[in-house]
Symmetry: C2
Subunit: 254 residues, 2 copies
């Protein structure tokens, strides 16, 4: 049985991509079969896993807009996860799909054809457009990575409005599993205040443990591997292993 | 004479909004007449300056898509700058404008009708879509805020490709003034290596001084003021005053 999780937050730079790569690697490390899907035209996830998008002829763009089989596009990575990669052509997907009836379902149909994965994680771009809505429509659950700062707080309400619409119109079963505190500096009162405020205001669970802020995460993409490979015993990697465990337990209650 | 500067970088969370708010406030503090334009549907700049986008009936969206006069929409702020605010309706602007001939010029025409500003700063969303292209078409110059980390490095080439297209087709005079290192931790070799690599690879000037990483920036939007008001003598505010000075000197050579 496959669990599909969208990692979404329209605010930029809150560690969506880092979360998908690190949690994916942690799940694979503990034996799960994992597929990661890069839905950002900037292809940061693809690049982070050691694949140069400019070397790719086929990407998720062709799956979504040309009806290509996902299996023909999926690649293996050194981090033990499979990847449905992105390229800059995906920037046209929003325009290409804009007038197509049922555009929200293009990703869901593509993933429905796949078998054999325990987990599919979807890396969303920093917007609430067609690609994010397609991800929410394809997912069983959504996790919201949250940089616990004021400007991040604003976006949560808008994201939940979008989730609400998706549940009404295109994916009744979509569950919000909670917010994941990322780049978390628990020593500052600001971060703790923002986290508490968000959890209470929107009645959201908080995924555990929070991911600590550490330069090690910025260094990992430079060698095209997740932090579990580059700093395997470091507290940043350990925290994402913890999150993988939290998700596994949460999935058991679905 | 008005100098219009686009603050652009499609990577999320690299301090575009923080740069526009802080540099704008610094220029106003030293006597300039400043207009800030919020081009992000998430309206973070608008919110950062103490204005709740949900209270606004009119925004830059109506200026761009309904031909409304900017002067009817511009508001004053407590930070001494004027603001052309955004609301979530701006999310429709990309779709609304997509098929309109000359859509790249909608912002330029709107700003051409304004007189009396020394500086107009344009806060771009984290994408290379219609709104960012409109900003680059309207601007005399572009500044690229740069979080000196690997994933930020990737985007610079793509952004410069877009700038190249704009210079060919819609704005011959657009100048790239350089990269501004933001959230800079000069103690790490990673940050310095990424900065040097980008400056050399793309032959870009580096705006001075770099902006240091400090939690004070995250706290300012909570009270709806720029850091020059909330931490006026702090090194973060001083750094942005320095950048305002750098820009003033740079504008004199245009
Ligand atoms: N826990 C952390 N500590 C320090 N740096 C981090 C951490 N997590 C991620 N980063 C770094 O922060 C930057 C932003 O992270 P990332 O690209 O994953 O965010 P994102 O939400 O996917 O951004 P975008 O909105 O552009 O897609 C990257 O340079 C990344 O390496
Ligand atoms: N020098 C700094 N030190 C620490 N935090 C900072 C600094 N500059 C900005 N920040 C914080 O980092 C976060 C991202 O900044 P900001 O929203 O300005 O980036 P952005 O590029 O406009 O993001 P987006 O791509 O979502 O528009 C905000 O919470 C902001 O308050
Ligand atoms: Mg990302
Ligand atoms: Mg912004």
């Amino acid at each position: 049985m496959t669990t599909t999780v969208a990692i979404a937050n329209q605010k930029g730079g809150v560690a969506k991509t880092t979360t998908v790569a690190s949690v994916g690697a942690a799940l694979a490390e503990s034996g799960s079969r994992v597929l990661l899907v890069d839905l950002d035209p900037q292809a940061c996830l693809t690049f982070s896993l050691g694949i140069d998008p400019e070397d790719l002829e086929l990407s998720v763009h062709h799956v979504l807009t040309k009806g290509l089989d996902s299996a023909e596009v999926i690649v293996e990575t050194d981090d033990g996860v499979d990847l449905l990669p992105a390229t800059i052509e995906l920037a046209r997907a929003e325009a290409d799909l804009l007038t197509r009836t049922g555009r929200e379902f293009v990703l869901r149909s593509a993933l429905d054809d796949l078998a054999g994965y325990d987990w599919i994680l979807l890396d969303c771009p920093p917007s609430l457009g067609v690609l994010t809505v397609a991800a929410l429509t394809a997912a069983d659950a959504v996790i919201i990575p949250l940089q616990c700062e004021t400007l991040s707080h604003r976006g949560v309400g808008q994201l939940l409005d979008t989730v609400h619409d998706v549940r009404r119109f295109t994916n009744k079963g979509l569950q919000v599993w909670g917010v994941l505190p990322t780049m978390y500096d628990g020593r500052t009162t600001h971060a703790r205040a923002v986290l508490d405020d968000i959890a209470q205001t929107y009645e959201l669970d908080v995924v555990q443990p929070p991911i600590p802020k550490t330069i090690r995460f910025a260094e990992a993409p430079a060698v095209g591997r997740s932090i579990l490979a580059t700093s395997r015993r470091h507290r940043g990697a350990e925290a994402y292993r913890g999150v993988a465990g939290w998700l596994t337990e949460r999935a058991a209650h679905v």
